[in-house]
Symmetry: C2
Subunit: 184 residues, 2 copies
């Protein structure tokens, strides 16, 4: 049975553990084993500093990705026009290891439009408020992410869900699993 590392800002949800369980149950339904970051046993009081605890979580997540065959990354825009950077790190990490990487977003708006929405634009010049170019490649995310996923043999699915469910909906996640059945 192939295993899937479940990357995403889901770990920041108030019911993060439940979401991991739900995602793992869905994985099983389609013949996969889900590996969720919060499955790593990190015991808070065993670290002398918050930094060391952070480093330890990072290392455990890296190891979990290495042990997994596939990554499904929740790339729904988070705290700005782009995906969660922790998730993006994991996508890059998995791509370098030759894992099959799948991305999904609960929002269909493309990257360029999202950046434009979030910035005061220097009208007509394709620059943002910091006078920096807004890349336009008809992609869902920064080209390193869409390109990495494509190059890994994976795919990037997007669909709009009700706004208040954008961090909790598992509809698009399940679509990824359905599609993965036939290629993984």
């Amino acid at each position: 049975m192939k295993s899937i590392y479940l990357a995403g800002p889901d770990v920041f949800l108030p019911n993060a553990v439940d979401v991991g369980i739900k995602k793992s149950i869905l994985c099983k339904k389609y013949g996969f084993k889900g590996n969720y970051p919060l499955d790593n046993e990190i015991v808070e009081y065993s670290y002398p500093t918050k930094r060391k605890m952070g480093f330890s979580i990072s290392k455990a997540n890296q190891e979990m990705i290495r042990k997994s065959d596939i990554v499904i990354a929740n790339l729904t825009p988070f705290r700005g026009p782009n995906a969660d950077v922790g998730t993006v790190f994991e996508v890059g990490y998995a791509c370098a290891l030759g894992k099959l990487v799948v991305g999904y977003s609960n929002m269909t708006m493309l990257h360029t439009e999202r950046v434009k929405h979030g910035s005061m634009i220097n009208a007509g010049h394709g620059m943002d408020a910091n006078d920096m170019f807004i890349e336009d490649f008809d992609l869902n995310e920064n080209l390193m992410i869409d390109g990495g996923i494509e190059n890994s043999g994976g795919f990037f699915l997007t669909q709009d869900v009700p706004f208040c469910e954008r961090y909790t909906s598992l509809v698009v996640f399940e679509e990824c699993l359905k599609k993965l059945q036939f290629i993984a």
Copy 2:
């Protein structure tokens, strides 16, 4: 001579090519060879679609990272509280390959504080406006990034520069090179 992949949102600056040249000259001053994404020869008219061009740039950058010994990533917050996601992908990619990865930011404020600044906080509960946890590990960025850099044997330097120079200042970048001389 060891080579350094120069990752960062610098490629979006209006004078992106000049910045790459300046960074490469600084690399040489400290005994390194700089590899800058825009050194890749991408000929715009040879791609049928913008998407295919994006994928091609992504692949060329991945190959350039593989050929480099070290990555110095400009992780100055970009279009929100976090670093540029393209750069973060590259940091993850390089960490998985066992490269020495160094990060820098032209802003010293830690990750948790930046997210709080950018969010309406649900007071007292450590949650952001989307009711999601704001992680607090005394780190410069999401723990995957600081942890990945630490685990690679690298370091993360931050320093405040004048606000209008936060995407162009090379002061902290040069500090990274000075420090790298002794460990790489």
